[in-house]
């Protein structure tokens, strides 16, 4: 069972990397790009076979390590 954890900075937290990416895209001619926020995706292969249990476990992992909940939010998706 694969868990995909997406970690993003919380709204309101300054994202200078996102800002730099946005500026670079503008320089490349993509004028339609406004605010940019960059995060990370962590894919976990779990031995768990029950999707609900896998989700709970992945959320626990996200809270304990994968995301710093002071400044980041996360979401977990389970793929077969």
């Amino acid at each position: 069972m694969k868990a995909v954890v997406t970690v993003m900075l919380k709204h309101g937290v300054l994202d200078p990397q996102g800002k730099a990416i946005g500026q670079a895209l503008n320089h490349l001619g993509f004028d339609q790009v406004g605010e940019v926020r960059a995060g990370k995706i962590i894919e976990l292969e779990l031995t768990e076979t029950d999707p609900a249990a896998a989700k709970v476990a992945a959320e626990d992992m996200a809270r304990k390590l994968l995301a710093n909940t002071v400044i980041e939010s996360f979401k977990v998706e389970i793929a077969a």
């Binding site: 937290v13 300054l14 200078p16 990397q17 730099a20 390590l65 710093n68 002071v70 400044i71």
Partner: protein
């Protein structure tokens, strides 16, 4: 005061700390590998030095915060033990929840490798009592993620309870909230700061601006 210096893979400033402790404490500090589960007997001060523990993978200090030795460090702090975290050490302390807030990427995205000037916000702690309140001193910076941040409630609490240890006095180059360069725990026995006082403790280094911090600890 007996000092132990923690060593995680990727830490690179432990020898600077050994030197600073030797100069001020006239003792040889113990170096403790991160995989140990206990601190040596009789340790009063645990120091977390700077560097790039675990390559800053995931987030700075995120992995180190879960190293086996950190359980003992948390217990030591809970018992009223002294802890000093510098740079990556400060990051590890916030990731471990021993100090509040988080250190984000510098607002300018530039790695800062230069001196800054810090102001001493209170001089009545074991770390700062060799300075006067309001004193300023030079400290070298070497960080890409020194932008201290916390939610408004936490920042207001830190200010209200007088737990800000040092502020950037000349220029805030990393964007840290309220110009915060370092903070104390509520019992004033845990200090985390981003700049490196240990790198100005001998005239040969270019100054002794950071020596009062170590002298104060040694005299405690």
């Amino acid at each position: 005061m007996k000092a132990a210096i923690l060593l995680f893979p990727g830490i690179n400033r432990e020898r600077d700390m050994v030197l600073a402790v030797r100069q001020s404490f006239a003792q040889e500090p113990q170096i403790v590998w991160h995989k140990e589960t206990e601190l040596p007997a009789g340790i009063d001060l645990v120091i977390l030095p700077g560097g790039f523990s675990f390559g800053d993978y995931l987030r700075c200090g995120a992995m180190a915060a879960h190293s086996p030795i950190m359980r003992a460090v948390k217990d030591h702090a809970a018992r009223g033990g002294y802890v000093l975290g510098v740079c990556n050490g400060f990051q590890i302390l916030t990731e471990a929840g021993i100090l509040p807030g988080a250190l984000l990427r510098n607002a300018s995205l530039r790695f800062l490798s230069m001196d800054t000037v810090l102001s001493v916000e209170r001089a009545d702690t074991v770390f700062t009592n060799h300075w006067q309140k309001g004193a300023t001193f030079r400290a070298p910076m070497a960080h890409g993620d020194g932008n201290y941040n916390a939610d408004e409630e936490t920042l207001n609490r830190l200010e209200g309870e007088n737990l800000v240890a040092f502020r950037y006095a000349d220029q805030n180059r990393n964007g840290a909230a309220r110009d915060i360069a370092g903070i104390f725990s509520p019992n004033l026995r845990v200090l985390g700061l981003m700049p490196h006082p240990e790198n100005l403790v001998d005239p040969l280094m270019g100054g002794i601006d950071g020596k009062p911090l170590f002298d104060a600890l040694a005299a405690a």
